[in-house]
Subunit: 334 residues, 2 copies
Amino acid sequence: MKIITMAHGSGGKLTEELIEGIFYKSFKNDLLLQANDSTLLSFIKGRLVATTDNFVVKPIFFRGGDIGKLSICGTVNDLLMSGARPLYITVGFIIEEGFEINQLEKIVESMAVTALKAKVKIVSGDTKVVERGSCDGVYINTTGIGVLERNIKLGGARAEVGDKIIINGSIGDHGASIFTQRGELEINSSLQSDCTLLNDLIAEILDNSNKVKVLRDPTRGGLATTLNEIAGQSKVSIKLKEEKLLIRDEVRSLCQITGFDPLFLANEGKVVVVVDNSESNRVLEVMRKNDLGREARVIGEVVEDDNNRVYLETSINGTRIVNALVGELLPRIC
Amino acid sequence: MKIITMAHGSGGKLTEELIEGIFYKSFKNDLLLQANDSTLLSFIKGRLVATTDNFVVKPIFFRGGDIGKLSICGTVNDLLMSGARPLYITVGFIIEEGFEINQLEKIVESMAVTALKAKVKIVSGDTKVVERGSCDGVYINTTGIGVLERNIKLGGARAEVGDKIIINGSIGDHGASIFTQRGELEINSSLQSDCTLLNDLIAEILDNSNKVKVLRDPTRGGLATTLNEIAGQSKVSIKLKEEKLLIRDEVRSLCQITGFDPLFLANEGKVVVVVDNSESNRVLEVMRKNDLGREARVIGEVVEDDNNRVYLETSINGTRIVNALVGELLPRIC
């Protein structure tokens, strides 16, 4: 079994072997192969969009994905949320001494396959190795660069009273799935993470409506935190209807056992769309034609209220306030 | 004493407090304050340049800098090596549970000050917290985006026979300084890291010569590794003159005690310039007028030889082959 040694992070011969034998092999593209301190990319004319994320998910391989797939999906999806076309990704690895090289190869291959699907090029990379016990297997940073070609303005501060809130499916799948694979409880579950790329779904939404106000993916902190951010940035309140939320049976059972609230569980293949009421039906129809939006639904609306809060209208006609996540629910979910 | 808790990485309220109370306070700029999943940057017309680096240096505070300053200098310098104007930096933190918040504030402030000097904006960030023992204090990823406005082509593959090799000063200062601060040997030393920004020096070189072929900063792996990379990429050999190398007394003594070779010790404020012989004197003069180039010198030249090697002509007129670093010299130097 071949493992990562401190020398793989030295910048010398073994680093070169790692780069050429693993990274170049999977990520191979003309830009990356420049092998300079920085990479010269294509000529751009337009507004740039950038985003960065670290991934420390545990376990690193999970049902529905792995840290590599997650790192590309997460960063590509974040670029998409501004309406941009994702172009480039840079990748930074921090690897623990002793990590199995064949595991690294699997992760890198998973990143390469996902990047290809997302039509982004991996253009720059860096690898550091730290001593045994100074990191937990592998951590990955992915930074994304895109270009905004559409004549639109999206952002958390643009929601207005009357707008509808749409989501493309069930909530909490990623968080719940990761939890069942931590071995903290003896749970037999086949629940998959929803980790996926949203490129096509977002393109179809924006191609068909110019009245979308906000796109945001409810990852860490879940739907509740995302909607609270939007309420705060837009200085509006949001009313959700509990009966409209789609929560898979397995997620619901897990929440009953653990006391987790599915509104706070992370999603990795979902998008919250805030759209003008006049076009909400059109957007919903478009979304339902896409595989990733078959279960799309209006879950609430932006309402007049000075408290900048999120309210949940429960199935029994009560209303409760949904706060942003306070404290820690599930560490290392992404 | 306030410390980082797992909840600071949850994506919820405490994450928001960290972002607003520490990151926004120091990094504050109109772009970062958009607070969306990705950041809309300015309109660009030109060729983009990108680079990424993880920083895991130990200790995180050292003479001449800290992990924050190093992370900005390292990434800005890498952008400069392609002739680009650095524009934007993204920052990803991985922080160990229990890390002192006032240490984080110092690091963040150091990054902000350095970014201001480098005229780059910090435009996107991410913070993850991992359990005690799953990281060593703090790791930082910085990814840089720049634009190439000059009509030049630089790169490791462009060195040609007859070109001169110039460096802007002494070698090994960063590596040697970090080593003396690890506490592995009882060494009293005042040796400082050379960690610095090279913006002005590089601009002055490129403003005064269009016959520069390669710019590269000899960081991890040291001067020897950098020159071997250039020799390999350009398919040339390089001859160095030992007597021309500037090695500070303290670095020399440390190397005598430990057996380190200063050619392999990392530098964080140096640049290797490969320039056409006809303009080497002009470039040297320009460099010497800059504070960071006062000790600039020609240390060797590109020679005709099919072995793609680096040779060192020693003071006693012998010649030895200088290989790229093999194995590990000093882990976590950057």
